[in-house]
Symmetry: C2
Subunit: 215 residues, 2 copies
Amino acid sequence: MTGSGNKRTRIQGINRGIILEAALDVFSAYGFRGSTIDQIAEKAGMSKPNLLYYFPRKEDIYVTVLENTLEDWLAPFRDIDPDGDPVEELKKYTILKLRMSANKPESSQLFANEILHGAPAIQDFLRNNLKRLVDEKANVISHWIEQGKIAPVDPHHLIFMIWATTQHYADFDVQVRAILPDQTEQADFFDHAADSILTILLNGIRPRDTVQPAQ
Amino acid sequence: MTGSGNKRTRIQGINRGIILEAALDVFSAYGFRGSTIDQIAEKAGMSKPNLLYYFPRKEDIYVTVLENTLEDWLAPFRDIDPDGDPVEELKKYTILKLRMSANKPESSQLFANEILHGAPAIQDFLRNNLKRLVDEKANVISHWIEQGKIAPVDPHHLIFMIWATTQHYADFDVQVRAILPDQTEQADFFDHAADSILTILLNGIRPRDTVQPAQ
DNA sequence: CAAAAACTTGACTGAATGGTCAAAATGTAG
DNA sequence: CTACATTTTGACCATTCAGTCAAGTTTTTG
């Protein structure tokens, strides 16, 4: 959960972890500018100078949290298996992402906030690592289409659609709760959401030999 | 574009408009906390005290911009016609929403940022006005389903899916551009996006009499 | 257990920023 | 064109907040 970088001593390992956990909470709730070092320090249960002993600048904390988050976020995407059954793979991925939205909305929110404000800290990452990875997976989808396993749809836009839809439940959490106050209380809310989304999505990409009805 | 509230004099009308336009740009780019009154004042071409003469507090500007934005944002949703053809109505709505993402991403971004940070300024609006409206439109969709005009899908989640997908192109603009640098340059990028999304979405909700294939 | 290294913190500093104020400039109505 | 209302702004104030520092405390190591 914490594990980044060079933890010289025992105490460093522990405290960096505590700080990063607190920082995720605070940054995801208030954004970079909206968060204060004091807030994070208090949540981490240490003094501000102590926190700055581990991360000399506010930005250092932020970037570290963001990097850790990115990895969590991409792992299930990396795991999409080119040799698996397309429907099964996309289904698995969608459910995993949705589960992340349910269990760790903070990660998604932190990331969303970063992108929303122009991704100042991860421009390069998006343009290089992420682009490469997405292009690669888009290729996988293209193959599936060629083999007639799913309908011909633009792979990139399909990926965007899955991202958007699944992250919506984390990023727009407040709105979802406001609109469905009772259902969001229920334990099976996310299962139901998954069902609904997958029904549309999987039927949307099911191979069709008939032409779409006019209009 | 500007038009809210009580503009006593000619000058007030003009200047409030200028301020709100500048404020939308600034707030959408940097968030509430990340924006400064000086920034907005400079963009609006006037001194800070002058700006504060029209909107005594930073929050007043923010709330006003947000309210104007909300109306733009909801108008096409309100216009979904219960008596229209379902596929045609949803198609129209999706395209309108996507066009808004293309033409005025700032509005969507401002709204996304507000929700992302817990919607402190519009909790009530979400819980009352928005919930009512969404429930109403969800009912319309339910009717369409009963009449067999579209497949049985959860109306609320369908709405979320359309919102999420269309707004993604505004809110995650930087990411989309990073992944599709060439295509986003092209004039027909949004048309292509609309095609891709609608292909999946409309097939996803097309009435089916055959059972979905196993798994 | 003593010395060195690592860790912790109260008190402080400087810059940024939301907001005030009184006086000047401009617009408007009779 | 004069009196009044509206608009504009330079200078200023108080607060918040990132980051420093020097002096203390704890942990580790030989």
